[in-house]
Each structure stands twice: as C-alpha cells, then as structure tokens.
C-alpha cells in the first residue's frame, strides 16, 4: 500500500545511521525538491520503493538481502539536509 516517507523512518535510520525524514531529496527525473518524509512509499514489495510525489518516478529503493539492507539512490539528483 501507499504510505509516505515517515513509514520508512526506521529503515532509513538503519541504513544511513541518522534521521532522514527531514532531509531534502531532489528527484532526478523532474527536479522537484521535497522532504524525504513526503515521498510516496510502497512498503509491501520485494523491496521498499520511494517515489517522487510530483512525477511518480522512483527516487529510492531499499532491498534487504542476506541481512544487509542496500539502498539505491540513483533516482535522486541530490540528498541534503534542510
């Protein structure tokens, strides 16, 4: 189902080591800059997919394989604190 970035606060904390929902992500597809907490998140999947709220493109993908969570950020042009 669809949630927002708050729904993966724990996953992101585990991967990045700190609070991420207040960071700003710039979508590599449409250039929109929004808070990570605002991304549309799809949790029930073989991985966690976060999409840009403006254009729907994939901005982040988290996959847990063999106990390690990998994150793919190629959908983001930038990720920075407020």
């Amino acid at each position: 189902m669809e949630l927002d970035g708050n729904g993966i606060a724990g996953t992101m904390m585990g991967v990045f080591g700190h609070e991420m929902t207040t960071e700003f992500g710039t979508c590599a597809s449409c250039g929109a800059r929004s808070m990570v907490g605002e991304f549309r998140v799809y949790l029930r999947a073989p991985g966690v997919v976060a999409r840009c709220r403006h254009c729907g493109s994939v901005v982040m993908v988290f996959v847990e394989a063999r106990g390690v969570t990998c994150v793919d950020l190629r959908g983001l042009a930038a990720l920075d604190p407020a």
Partner: protein, 200 residues
C-alpha cells in the same frame, strides 16, 4: 532474539517439501505487493504486443485477446517474500499460443508493464507450457490490485517474474535486467534453488 509470548503470526501451515520450496511458508490469503500505484488502463486503450528481435511484431486489442484460445490452469505460486500459495486457478492465453508464428532467434525476453515495471526471463522459460498471460483468477476477472486486466503468469519462477499489468514482451538477443533484477534480485529466480538475490 526476544520471543514475543503467544505470538504466532500469519498461519503458516506445515510445508510439504515436494510442493513448497525451501524457506517458504504457505498462506491462505493473497498478499498484494507493489512497487508503485495500481494502474487503471481502460480496456479500450489496452493492447498486448510482442516486439523486438522478431520478423514482424504482433499485437492484440483486448477484444481480440479474448478470442484467442485460452486455458484454465491450477498452479502453485511462490513469492520471494517467502509466502507460497497453492492450487491457484488462473485463466489466460498460453505464451506458446501468443508466440505461435513469431519468427525469432532471440533468447531473452523483457516484459513491459503499465506503471513502468519490467522483468526479464529467458525465452525458453516462457515457452513449452510454462507461461501465460492471465486475465482471470479464481474464476473472476483479474482485479487491478492483483495485476488486472492481465498479468504474466510464470509459476515455476519466483512470483516477481509474473509481471502485473503486462502490456508487451520485447524479445532480445541480449539479456537486460528488469526492475527488481536491477536492484539486486536474482536474474533467473528459481524458487527450488532459492535464487532470491544476485549471487545466490
């Protein structure tokens, strides 16, 4: 590990190893997993095509698709997130029927779907009675959240290969990874060899 007193979780039946691959549990419900919003393509706009490394691409509108010879099959499906569902009943058109008359020397397939999802498979894994484009589940039209109007059904591989909302198959000389394969899931995905992730 902290055991939660009295917690059992979803009913996980005793797994019959001849039917349930390693690491899987059997479920009675039908979980909905998705990497994005459910597409809602009107049937009037829907078509299914086979293109790419073929002599002539072929395509069917929805009405044409429904006139193709169909089969009803009962299969077990296995999701990489560990649930398996036994004896699921689907109705659809066999890929053998769809590929009949299509001339190709390609060995690989990349499936394209509404919403942008893709997955890759060897051509030989969607032929020989192993794959369908299914439009009915349990005797009813396939619901959008489960992939309707039509999805790929390839039960001998992990269920992420049974791409929901499938619209076309691109036949290719060279393999190209699809969505989950790009993010670390296995290129082939044989549940009996537990090929969940790259390197398994």
């Amino acid at each position: 590990m902290a055991i939660s007193r009295g917690f059992q979780g979803r009913r996980r039946g005793d797994a019959d190893p001849t039917r349930v691959p390693p690491g899987q549990y059997v479920t009675d419900d039908f979980p909905v997993l998705s990497a994005g919003p459910t597409p809602h393509t009107p049937l009037a706009d829907w078509d299914f095509s086979i293109r790419g490394a073929v002599d002539r691409p072929v395509a069917w509108t929805w009405n044409e698709f429904l006139t193709l010879p169909s089969e009803t099959v009962t299969v077990d499906v296995h999701c990489v997130t560990k649930w398996s569902k036994l004896d699921t009943v689907w109705k659809g058109v066999s890929l053998d029927t769809l590929l009949d008359g299509v001339e190709t020397s390609a060995e690989h397939v990349l499936a394209f779907c509404d919403g942008g999802y893709t997955t890759n498979l060897p051509l030989e894994d969607v032929t020989g009675g192993k794959a369908w484009v299914a439009y009915e589940y349990g005797g009813e039209p396939l619901e959008p959240e489960h992939g309707g109007p039509a999805r790929l059904l390839v039960p001998h591989l992990y269920f992420w290969k049974s791409a929901k909302w499938v619209r076309s198959l691109e036949l290719r000389d060279h393999d190209k990874p699809g969505f989950w394969e790009t993010y670390g899931y296995h290129t082939y995905g044989d549940p009996w060899k537990e090929q969940r992730y790259q390197g398994d």
